[in-house]
Structure formats: C-alpha cells, structure tokens
C-alpha cells in the first residue's frame, strides 16, 4: 500500500465534473484506491463518494492505493490533480 498527500489546486475543488474525471480514471486501475479527507475515507472509484467529501481548493487530501498497479494509479491521479482536472486554462 502506498499513500500520497495531494493538494487540491483547481478553483472549484471536487465538484461533479472533476469527481467524474477522477472516478473514471480510478476505475482504469485494478488497485483499491481511496481518498481520505477530514477523517472521511471514500472509494475513489465512486463518483457519489467523492462528491460527499466536498473537498475544495486549498485542502489537502490523502490518496491511498493498494494492489498490483498502485504506483501507476497514484502517479496518474496525482497528475490529474496537478493539471487542475484540465478545467482551467
């Protein structure tokens, strides 16, 4: 299992579109992937789960993955956050 602390850069945080992109990406990996924020832990493959976090810009969340492709998963998801979900230019 590996973990990474990730800062949310995009202005709107994990709103519907960003959450959809995130869960879509997470579903491409076989590892179990979780987001941990404010003592809540949700499955990163669940759109609704991510939405309930209501995590917004400036917050830090923890990405956690365990499984065969955990390293790739964390890298790809971290990259999506860093690209601000491709929603700002």
């Amino acid at each position: 299992m590996i973990e990474k602390t990730q800062l949310i850069h995009n202005k709107l945080g994990l709103h519907a579109r960003a959450a959809a992109k995130l869960s879509h990406l997470a579903n491409l990996f076989t590892s179990d992937i979780y987001l941990i924020y404010n003592e809540d832990k949700v499955n990163a493959k669940s759109l609704l789960g991510i939405l309930t976090l209501a995590a917004s810009v400036g917050n830090e969340i923890i990405l956690q993955a365990s499984g065969g492709d955990e390293q790739e998963a964390i890298t790809a998801i971290g990259d999506l956050f860093d690209r601000k979900f491709d929603e700002e230019s």
Binding site: H15, A54, E88
Partner: protein
C-alpha cells in the same frame, strides 16, 4: 368552466386534453422480503438501471438534436451517477443485508446521500442533491412493469399540467412532438424548460400557483398566451372561439415567416437592421429563421452560472466560435458577464444594501480580473471569422475603459505568445445604461468602436425606479420626456463621433416604442427573437419620413402620458390597420 391566471412565457394558443404529470408522488413503504427473493430484487434493479441508462441516453440525443452539443450539461451528472458502480453496489448491498425490496433500498440510499449533501455548506455541491433525487426516482419508476408513467407515453396529444418539472423531464416531454402546451404551478422565466418551450413553439403558462388543484387528467383545457390564462372545461361557445383563435394564430405565424424573407427597408426605402438577443448557444441555430440578421446581444451570464464558474477558455472558445459560425456572415456581439444585482450569482461576495448601485458587471471584474480575462481571451481567440464583437456592460467612467483596454492588451499578448491569436482584432463596444456614460459619449468614444443602449437599465437609473416594485413601476416608461431627451442626446452624440449604436432593451421589441426610436433616427435594434417578425411587419409598412415628422413634435410635451397618447393617435391616423393588437404576441 373556470379560468386560471398565470404568466405566459412562450406564445401560442392550444386546446386539448389535460395530463397531470408527476403530481401524486407515490408513497414507498418498507416491505421485507425473504432471502429467496433477494436475487429477484437485484435482477429487477439491474433491469431498471439498464432502462434508465437507455432513457437518459435517448433524452440526451433528443436534446442534442434541438440544442446541439451544449445539451450535455443538463443531464450529464445524472448519467455519470448511473454509471457509478459503487452507488449501485450500495443499493444491492441494502437489498441483501436488510432484506428489503429494491424501491425501499433506493429510498434508503437516497436519504443517506441527501443528508450528507444537506450538511455541505457549499451551494454548488448542494445543488447536486437534485440530480441524485432525479436519477434515483427514475430508477424507482423503472422498477414498475410499465416504466415511468410519463405523459410522453400517453397516446394522443396532451397539455401537460404539473407542479414543476425537471430539465430532463422537460427535454423528454418536449422533444417528442406530442406536447400541445405546458402549464406549471411554479415559475422561472429563464429556466431551461421555458427556453425549450419557446424554441419549439410550445405555448406555456407558468406561475399558476395551484392549477394542479383544479385540473384533472382528461379535462379539456384551452391555453391562451394572449390573455395569459388557462381555461378549464370551456363551454362550447368558448371552445369555438378558441378554435378560431388557433387558426388565426397559425395564419399569423405563417405570415410572419414570409416576412422574414423581406428586405429590411421601410416603404420609403430607409434601411434598418434587426438582431436577436440570445442567452443559450443553441438559440443561434434558430434566430435566423425568425428573421434576425445577426445577434446583437449574447448574454453570457448563463455560461458562467451554469458551469458553476469553472468554464475554461477552451470551452468558451468553442462555444463562441460555433455561434459565430452559425450566424456568419452576420455579426455576433458577445457581452461579457453582467453579474451582480438580481442575477443570483452564488459567487456574490456578500449582501449589499443597494445591489443595483453596487458590485456588478465590470466593477466586479476589475476587482477579480482572472475570470474576466479568460472570457476576453476566449472571445478574441474565437474571432477567426471576423464577425465577433465584444461588449462591456455597466460603464460609468473612462478609467474603466482604460482598465479594460489594458486587460485586452494583456489577453492579446498571451494569445500571441500561445500562437492562438487570429489576425483580426475584435471590435469593442460599451453599454449605455448609466446616464453618466451618455453624457461622456464623446470622450468614451475615442477608445471604443460602438455603443449599445440597454434601455431597461437606462430608464431605471435615469428615473430612479425599480420596475419590479409594483408601487412605483408606473413610472418606468419609455415615454418619459427625460428619457426621450436622453435618447436624442445619444443619437446626436454618437453621430458626432461617427460611431454606431444599437438599441437592445425591451423597447426595441415593442411596436410603438420601436417606431418612436426609428423616427428618432436609430436604425439598429436587437430584441428577443420572437419579437423580430412583428417589428419587421410594422417597420416595413411605414414611411420613415412621416415617422420622423411625428417624432419631431415630441418636444412639445412635458409628460409621459401626453407623449404616449400623441404617438398612438398619430400612428393610428397614418396607419389605421398597423397596430391592431397582433394575435399571439406575449
């Protein structure tokens, strides 16, 4: 027979059978099942999911046909939610562990998430709870044998009566051709439902408060947008009257269609130009069929608010480019975000004591420049066809124009660096809405290319009157002598510096005020697309020279009532048939 008053938001007259929709919400009870039935319940759930996905896909396709790609945002979240395997696992788990029917399991899951979402302070997350309820209720409806008992599946044409309907319901109901009319208890003039109804020419009466109490499914209903009422079980005599009106309205629409082909000339060959105001991108595909020779005002607030402020340069660029292409070679004037005041901006920083004298439009953006600059960049970038112009609202003083010019220069530089700046510079204009700007036309005109008069706001700020306040709204009049004076000043001053001006408030789409403007020498008018044909009919039947003479006498009067009476009398003398109240105008 009873008559119910409402607000006509989409013109037309219709008569048909009433269909109550979605009114009696079914009560779902906890029903325990044996372990043997678990498999069956899960099978039912999976079937309902399949059906729901197919329905949402179909709705999306139907929407795309009438609205283009922009349709997606209406039901995107719902579709994504149904694809979320974890949501479905949770429902499945509830069925298995609690031994309940699928309906109850869905309700439990809905309840759980609604509770979570209601504790979230951020409004844009809260709004999502509507999507969750909408999609889960669709699932429940699909658990029934017949699927959702939507009016869409009733035979024959109906007039739909409901408390309110969701955008996805509106889209399904309207994109199949069976809907004759729409009656809603609730209101909302700018909702997607209303925009769809107008686009498709479906008469709609909203704000009836309690129509669902007095109408039963199967009742005969007549819907009349001219009188803004719904007639329940009309007597034979009234029904006959309505039938005649429907036929007249049909002929009238036919006649207007033909009008859209005529050249924009008065009888004495004086040229005028009619443009459309639009709010949603898809409208650009249809305004030309109403006779618009361009878009005089594209209000962009909805892009900003619908996207919850996250719309990127790229997304905007594609939207603007597409509209410009639809309307080419005619012009497209894009007004930058006019936020603040009553525009229900969730981003609004705090309650202001005097919102219409406070932070709005350009004032907001000179404080927080980023979203403004992104919009300007997107507009500049989209102008490869050369027919785009940019318009800045709520200008009070020259410093604002200087600041805007600075931002435009930065935006241009950034685009050039990125290699995405088209060769053509975009022309920039300002709105004349604040009387101070009118007095400064000759100074402001140095730095800008054109003007646009927002007559509603200009009247409001000139006369210090809120037209939505029924105690003072009588003062809100385009015939107020002070307003006429300011209109003349605009015409003279703009001519002096050799620039163009377009009138784009409500009065541009009302026959008598528009004739007055034409007589004053204004030639560019931008209005709701529905009004264009009527204005064209009136303008093509008059003589500019005669009109000019009539308007020349207005200086003699010192009161708005005298001016209004004089104009009406003189027009009636010159053209007795011209202004008989046209059928079907809202």
């Amino acid at each position: 027979m009873i008559r119910i008053k409402g607000k006509a938001v989409s013109p037309g007259i219709a008569m048909g059978r009433a269909q109550l929709y979605n009114f009696e919400k079914e009560v779902i009870r906890a029903e325990n099942i044996g372990e043997k039935s678990v498999e069956k319940e899960i099978w039912r759930l999976e079937n309902a999911v399949k059906k729901s996905r197919a329905q949402l896909k179909k709705i999306n396709l139907g929407l795309q046909k009438i609205m283009g790609k922009d349709a997606a945002f209406i039901i995107e979240t719902q579709y994504l939610l149904l694809k979320d395997s974890h949501l479905l696992d949770e429902i499945r788990g509830t069925i298995q562990n609690k031994l309940v029917k699928a309906e109850w399991a869905i309700k439990q899951v809905e309840k759980k998430y609604l509770e979570i979402f209601h504790t979230i302070p951020d409004l844009s997350f809260k709004a999502k709870s509507n999507d969750i309820s909408d999609v889960l209720n669709r699932l429940i409806a699909n658990l029934k044998k017949g699927g959702p008992a939507a009016a869409a599946q009733q035979p024959g044409q109906v007039i739909l009566v409901a408390d309110d309907i969701t955008p996805s319901e509106a889209a399904t109901l309207m994109s199949n051709k069976r809907l004759l009319g729409l009656v809603l208890n609730k209101g909302g003039e700018t909702s997607h439902t209303v925009i769809l109804a107008r686009t498709l020419g479906i008469p709609a009466i909203l704000d009836t408060v309690n129509a669902t109490d007095s109408i039963f499914s199967g009742d005969t209903l007549a819907l009349d947008s001219v009188s803004s009422e719904v007639i329940v079980q009309p007597t034979p005599a009234v029904a006959e009257e309505i039938t005649e009106k429907i036929e007249k309205f049909r002929q009238y629409k036919e006649q207007l269609k033909n009008l859209s082909q005529l050249p924009e000339l008065t009888r004495d060959l004086h040229q005028f130009h009619l443009y459309a105001n639009i709010e949603l991108p898809f409208e650009s595909e249809i305004v030309q069929s109403y006779g618009a020779k361009g878009i005089g005002l594209f209000r962009t607030e909805f892009l900003y608010l619908d996207s919850k402020m996250s719309i990127s340069e790229e997304e905007q660029y594609l939207i603007y480019k597409n509209i410009a292409k639809n309307i080419f070679p005619h012009p497209l004037v894009i007004r930058t975000y006019d936020l603040g005041r009553d525009k229900s901006d969730p981003q609004a920083p705090r309650r202001e004591e005097n919102p219409s004298l406070g932070m709005m439009a350009v004032r907001l953006f000179l404080k927080d420049r980023e979203p403004f600059k992104i919009q300007i960049k997107a507009i500049m970038r989209a102008n490869s066809s050369g027919n785009i112009r940019i318009l800045f609202p709520m200008i009070t003083e020259i410093e604002e124009i200087r600041a805007i010019k600075e931002i435009m220069a930065e935006a241009k530089k950034e685009l050039q660096r990125a290699g995405t700046f088209p060769k053509k510079d975009v022309k920039a204009g300002i709105m004349l809405e604040i009387p101070a700007a009118v007095r400064l036309i000759r100074h402001l005109g140095h730095d800008i290319d054109f003007f646009s008069v927002g007559s509603n706001d200009l009247i409001q700020y000139l006369l210090a009157v809120d037209r939505n306040n029924s105690d003072v709204s009588y003062l809100f009049s385009p015939y107020h002598p002070a307003f006429i004076h300011i209109l003349k000043e605009i015409r003279t001053e703009v001519d002096r510096i050799g620039k163009e001006v377009t009138i784009c408030g409500e009065m541009a789409g009302q026959p008598v005020p528009a004739l007055m403007l034409l007589g004053m020498g204004f030639t560019n008018f931008s209005m709701n697309a529905m009004a264009i044909a009527e204005i064209k009919r009136v303008f093509t039947q008059i003589h500019y020279a005669r009109l000019r003479k009539v308007v020349g006498h207005l200086d003699r009067f010192s009161s708005r009532t005298e001016i209004e009476a004089f104009l009406n009398t003189e027009l009636l003398k010159l053209y007795p048939e011209l202004l008989q109240r046209s059928q079907g105008s809202v």
